[in-house]
Amino acid sequence: MVTAITSMGRSGLHDWLMQRVSAVIILAYVLYVGGVVASGVDYASWKALYSQTWMRIFSLLALLSFGAHAWVGLWSVFTDYLTERMLGAVGDKLRFLAQALSAVIMFTYIVWGIQILWGL
């Protein structure tokens, strides 16, 4: 059975709001970094930009937003298509597997991202 226990915040409103807020943050980040790249960068200016604390915070915020956005979005997709209704008994197992896999991937990206940002 499709249940809400693996949704991000258990509340539809919470997930909906999270999806919108994270989308705005990601958009702001992509526009800013896109603008920087478009105006021309070299190694020195790129390194200088990312050695500033505010840029690291902004990047981490965008990365966490990306994780949350992906979780809410993929949760919707998985609970639409990987279900008992669509695939029979194997549906629920496949969905759990897909969710676990995407959780591990997102967790990896976030930890890896922190490592890159702070040069650990």
Partner: protein, 234 residues
Amino acid sequence: MLQVSIYRYNPESDAEPYMQDVQVDTGGKDLMVLDVMEMIKAQDTSFVYRRSCREGVCGSDGVNINGLNGLACITPLSDRVRDNKLVLRPLPGLPVIRDLVVDMSMFYAQYEKVQPYLQNDTPAPAIERLQSPEEREKLDGLYECILCACCSTSCPSFWWNPDRFIGPAGLLQAYRFLADSRDTATEERLAKLDDPFSVFRCHGIQACVNVCPKGLNPTRAIGHIRNMLLTRAT
């Protein structure tokens, strides 16, 4: 001669559904789709569909006409027929009982969930519960729904989760009672809609708005519900 392709399925004799080709002489007139169905039934009495009022009031003859849901009785051939071809299928997403007749249990179960009746436990006034014209106006575009299921059965979110997503028809009615100044159960109603499925499976693609034979806008009503949930939570 109009080329008509109809979905046929009789669980007592057919192993699986099939499409049957029929030719209908419309005499060059722009008939309603229901007229064509009646002509087919005159040729072959085993062809089954629901119909009643034949004027878009009862909501019985919702069918999928050339890929788009609609009421057969008020959909003229000129609206849907291209290249002289008419394809009739049952409403998508619901179990087929026979030919164009679908089992609407899941649809009604969702309608029942929103408690589509006025709730007010305060003592009834001597004559009636009054509404101002402005309060009454809020119900326009909501109360006209005839529950034909054209909207909910054209909604992919309802196809995938018909047991948990209330669907456009049910949500339109949910908002009809949330918006009613005489109803006092607003808080209880909203509390039941906050889960990730009931309302929030709507992704706003407006397939429901596209097919509603009464010209109603469930997506807008769902947006109002979302705003009420947001106001309540913040």
